[in-house]
């Protein structure tokens, strides 16, 4: 296979230590340009040409393998220096084209690296077992207990309507609690971070969990504050554990969520 394309993993401002990654991926090297190191690899158009890449995206096994390599390469570089991670599949035909791109955005890249210095991305995802939450909330909701009493003494017709009403009230109570939990958690974690971002919720086919995702957030935290940040997650986790609400805290990640170009940076939080 001719390795005729250049795959860009990340940018960094220190000489990347590639020894560890060389065992993981073939043909990895870096390109130095105006003070930046672009960590790149040679890949084949058999896999990564526009047409073949699109075809391969339909192959979950292929994506999982390649995306894991992408992540591992960046994480290895991240151990020694600050990185700007690129999205999976940034590919150039020639080194010249890559350098042209670097030249075009050099100031933004350097500013971003400066901004990211000493900071880490952390992810917090909140999940809820809806059945368990509902059960927990119903048992001590005054208005629902009152409705139960009414239902017991009502005619069949009226009982039917009251039951519907009870269902609606229960759903309202559940939604209120979910919002409350999401908002409280996000606001508290925000205080221990520099930037924050709410991302789209992902379905169970993706999360491979039984409970439902109710918040998907990313935070950029000062390295010295991470301990406190994780501590807050533990406090929230303890507070909500009997409600069927679970917190998944992961990190440090390459700052995927906090390095977008063209003024798309999340606001201070």
């Amino acid at each position: 296979m001719i390795q005729n394309l250049i795959y860009l993993y990340c940018l960094t401002n220190k000489v990347p230590k590639l020894k560890e990654i060389e065992a993981l991926v073939d043909n990895i090297y870096f390109i130095f340009h105006q003070g930046l190191y672009a960590v790149t690899g040679r890949v084949s158009s058999n896999e990564f040409s526009e047409e073949n890449l699109r075809k391969n995206l339909g192959n979950l096994e292929w994506i999982t393998a390649k995306a894991s390599i992408h992540e591992k390469v960046i994480e290895t570089v991240m151990q020694n220096s600050c990185v700007i991670p690129f999205k999976f599949g940034a590919i150039f035909n020639t080194e010249e084209n890559l350098k042209t791109m670097l030249k075009k955005h050099i100031k933004e890249f350097k500013d971003t690296l400066k901004h990211l210095e000493g900071k880490e991305e952390w992810g917090v995802k909140i999940y809820c077992d809806m059945g368990k939450l509902k059960e927990n909330l119903i048992q001590d909701a005054e208005e629902l207990l009152n409705l139960d009493r009414e239902i017991n003494s009502a005619s069949p017709g009226k009982a039917f309507i009251l039951k519907k009403k009870k269902e609606e009230s229960a759903n309202t109570i559940v939604n209120k609690k979910l919002n409350e939990c999401g908002q409280e958690s996000f606001e508290r974690l925000k205080q221990y971070s520099i930037q924050s971002r709410i991302n789209k919720l992902l379905p169970i086919e993706v999360t491979e969990r039984k409970d439902e995702m109710i918040l998907n957030a990313a935070f950029l935290a000062d390295k010295n504050k991470v301990k406190e940040f994780v501590g807050v997650v533990d406090v929230l986790k303890a507070k909500y554990s009997d409600k069927g609400i679970d917190f998944d805290c992961t990190g440090p990640w390459p700052p995927y969520n906090f390095c977008s170009l063209s003024g798309e940076k999340a606001q201070n939080g």
């Binding site: 890449l53 991670p85 999205k87 590919i91 925000k190 992902l202 918040l215 390095c259």
Partner: protein, 71 residues
């Protein structure tokens, strides 16, 4: 380095779809995976349109003061 904190961080399908394939710098390289291409993966996963709609609906109610996805 006992002050380095890490939490379980497997590169799961979830994190691949949420981070590696969805975020990070997007530049006008010679070849870049587009959003539509990533959607193909969801189709491959047989994520039904109805659940995508649910996702959109849930996303439609961001928390006050929360930063929504910029894109």
């Amino acid at each position: 380095m006992d002050n380095v904190i890490t939490k379980s961080k497997d590169v799961t399908l979830l994190e691949i779809l949420d981070r590696v394939l969805d975020k990070g710098v997007v530049i006008s390289g010679d070849i870049v995976i587009s959003l539509a291409d990533v959607d193909l993966i969801y189709v491959g996963l047989k994520v039904l349109i109805s659940s995508v709609e649910t996702m959109e609906r849930l996303r439609g109610a961001p928390f006050a003061g929360g930063q929504e996805e910029p894109n």
